[in-house]
């Protein structure tokens, strides 16, 4: 086919960083995560970063579902919590030893391990369930609501109510879930002592590796035909239907992917932070996940990750200085970005890039095709049609 560079090609290319840039970006990220951070940061700060990486995993999924798919999911805390609780149950059972009973159950409950805890005695089953349970729940729920064309604001509100219900359910089952206390006081992670600094560093590296893998998965999904289809569904669900696709299936798939990513993030969060409680899964943390995604740039690949890490980092450092100031800062930042810069900070970067020279071969891009027009406002149009 015709390989002559076309003027129109330049336009398209300007929207996408070149392959070399993407490669360099990943390499830089890998070096930063695997080499620089462990050397420069104190164990405490490294532990914090590990926690932020877990939260960033949720953000990757949200970036896919919301930025690309237009599904504003206000209930990712549910899947984060599922993964976290499953992992925490395993750690509690492992600490208790074979046939043992987790301490809190004998303190507050009957001292009997309920049947649905039993599978988590096996490490393999736990890892499997951390992926399966959220996938199945998200699949069923997604399929149910998407085939009935519950979408836009309705979906957002339903997912939010789901988070609220999930937190209430957890709190109410104190004897088996630890109630508001949640699950905590873990000693070991698959046999490795959690208080050992070497093992803590290992956990950090695992989190960094998993996050990178997730970013690669997200990238593959974005650049694939599925990614194009996803944008099409976001911008014109009915139109896609008239082309012979079932948009419900597309949405369900991306919803499941986001759920699994959140669950894996939650599962790693538990050994790193040492606690999971309903305070980490309800309505407020669920919306909190969105903050970083929105600020970083919802429709981009790295925007959600970087945004999420930056926001977490800012929250920790700013709130150390000004406890109540942080809330004003966070609120104001969120308002300004969403209202005036819907593409997030990533769109600023891209806007600046447009001034630069075009890469030599326009078609040689290896980066996710970003559907958002750079100017004036990349509006992921979501169906807000009331009826």
């Amino acid at each position: 086919m015709n390989a002559t560079p076309r003027t129109s090609d330049r336009l398209a290319t300007l929207l996408r960083p070149g392959r070399s840039r993407a490669l360099a970006g990943f390499a830089l990220a890998a070096v930063l995560l695997f080499a620089v951070a462990p050397v420069l940061l104190s164990p405490f700060r490294l532990g914090l970063l590990a926690k932020f990486l877990c939260l960033a995993m949720v953000a990757v999924g949200i970036g896919l579902a919301w930025g690309r798919g237009g599904l504003l999911t206000l209930g990712q805390g549910v899947y984060f919590g599922l993964g976290a609780y499953l992992m925490a149950m395993h750690l509690k059972l492992a600490d208790a030893g074979p046939g043992g009973v987790p301490d809190f159950m004998s303190l507050y409950g009957t001292g009997e391990v309920p049947w649905w805890w039993e599978p988590m005695r096996s490490p393999a089953a736990t890892i499997l369930l951390i992926v399966l349970v959220p996938a199945v729940l998200a699949g069923l729920l997604g399929w149910a609501v998407f085939t009935r064309r519950v979408r836009g604001a309705y979906f957002a509100i339903l997912s939010q109510a789901l988070a609220a219900a999930f937190a209430i359910l957890l709190i109410g089952q104190q004897q088996t879930t630890g109630g508001t206390n949640g699950l905590n006081g873990f000693r070991a992670f698959f046999g490795y002592d959690l208080t050992d600094p070497v093992n803590q560093r290992m956990l950090y590296l695992i989190a960094a590796g998993v996050l990178l893998v997730m970013v690669l998965v997200a990238r593959q999904l974005m650049v694939s035909r599925f990614g194009e289809l996803l944008v099409a569904v976001r911008d014109g669900e009915d139109r896609v239907r008239f082309l012979g696709y079932d948009p419900a299936a597309v949405k369900t798939v991306v919803y499941v992917v986001a759920a699994v990513m959140a669950a894996v993030g939650g599962a790693l969060f538990v050994p790193i932070v040492g606690i999971i409680s309903p305070a980490d899964v309800g309505v407020v943390p669920s919306i909190g996940f969105l903050v970083g995604v929105a600020i970083g740039g919802r429709a981009t690949l790295l925007g959600p990750v970087l945004g999420s890490i930056a926001v977490s980092w800012a929250q920790t450092t700013v709130s150390e200085q000004f406890p109540s100031g942080w809330i004003y800062f966070q609120g104001a930042l969120f308002i300004l970005v969403i209202a005036f810069l819907p593409g997030g900070l990533a769109s600023l970067v891209r806007r600046r890039r447009r001034g630069g020279a075009a890469p030599p071969d326009p078609r040689d891009d290896d980066a996710p095709t970003d559907p958002a027009p750079p100017d004036p406002a990349p509006v992921p149009h979501t169906e807000g049609r009331p009826a």
């Binding site: 206000l74 609501v145 009935r148 604001a153 339903l158 209430i168 309505v283 969120f334 308002i335 969403i338």
Partner: protein, 294 residues
């Protein structure tokens, strides 16, 4: 039998509370498509208004009645400011209004904390609302009867206003076809502002009424916002009727589930029922049939 009647009243009363909280949302979300998460904070502002009015007037008997219209204005003005600064540029992206207003809600809560202090404050219920009216062996707390009455008055006024005043017709015209309405000389900007003013003002009234039942603190609104949105979603968009039915139904369900199980389980059950219901009627209880597609 007494219990049944008691719970019936409890459910209706809870329904009226939900209705008050959701009525303004039915306007701003249902009619304008704006998902205003700060609606709860407008309620909070109404509640603090009642507190301030009481401090100024002193007499509890009068201050509540004064606080209702003042609360309406306070909520309305807050809404107006929000609309004029942020919302008006976002009508075409409803999901983003959700996020922006969530940020606004955060800030408003912190403002309340910094202005009024973190601890809850108290509004004294007027003497004429203390105690209960006994009807057929059932004690009906006067405060709850009062809230029921406020809810009924609000609904009645709103539906009459929407149906038969020129303002209401303008609102409905803009809601149904913005472009056409503008072409017919209706200023949609003005109408948007007015709708948002009234919707937010209703939140203010709800806040004042709630001082009779619960605590007045910075987080007052967050306790109601999720339920209020569920009411609007279940009720369907575009008509007040759906909101009224949904609020009543949710209130009754919560009351009876709570009686037979526990408050926590009841909340989860109500959620399950709503999801199941939306499977049957994805657009809610009452929908305006429309031919506009794609």
């Amino acid at each position: 039998m007494d219990i049944l009647l008691n719970q019936l009243f409890a459910g209706l009363s809870l329904g009226s509370v939900l209705l008050l909280a959701a009525l303004g949302l039915a306007l701003t979300f249902g009619q304008m498509g704006v998902i205003n998460m700060a609606h709860g904070e407008f309620m909070m502002a109404g509640a603090y208004t009642a507190f301030v009015v009481q401090g100024v007037i002193g007499s509890a008997g009068v201050s509540l009645l004064v606080a209702l219209p003042v609360g309406f204005v306070v909520g309305g003005v807050l809404g107006l400011v929000l609309e004029a600064t942020l919302i008006h540029r976002m009508y075409h992206r409803p999901l983003d209004t959700l996020l922006v207003t969530w940020g606004v809600a955060l800030v408003l809560q912190q403002v309340a904390r910094d202005v009024f202090g973190a601890p809850n404050v108290d509004v004294t219920a007027p003497e004429w609302l203390s105690g209960a009216v006994t009807v057929g062996g059932i004690a009906l707390p006067k405060t709850r009867l009062f809230i029921l009455a406020v809810a009924i008055v609000c609904v009645a006024t709103l539906s009459v206003a929407l149906r038969s005043t020129p303002l209401g017709r303008r609102i409905r015209a803009v809601v149904q076809n913005r472009d056409l309405a503008e072409a017919s000389g209706i200023s949609s900007r003005g109408t948007d502002r007015l709708t948002f003013f009234i919707g937010s003002g209703l939140a203010g009234i709800a806040g004042v009424a709630l001082t009779l039942l619960g605590s007045i603190g910075p987080t007052l609104g967050t306790n109601y916002i999720v339920d209020a949105f569920l009411v609007v979603v279940a009720g369907g968009i575009g008509q007040i009727k759906g909101t009224v039915i949904a609020a009543t139904a949710l209130g009754l369900m919560q009351a009876f589930f709570e009686y037979s199980t526990t408050a926590s389980v009841a909340k989860v059950l109500v959620f399950v029922v709503i999801v199941a219901f939306l499977q049957v009627r994805p657009q809610g209880l009452v929908t305006v049939r429309t031919r506009s597609l794609v």
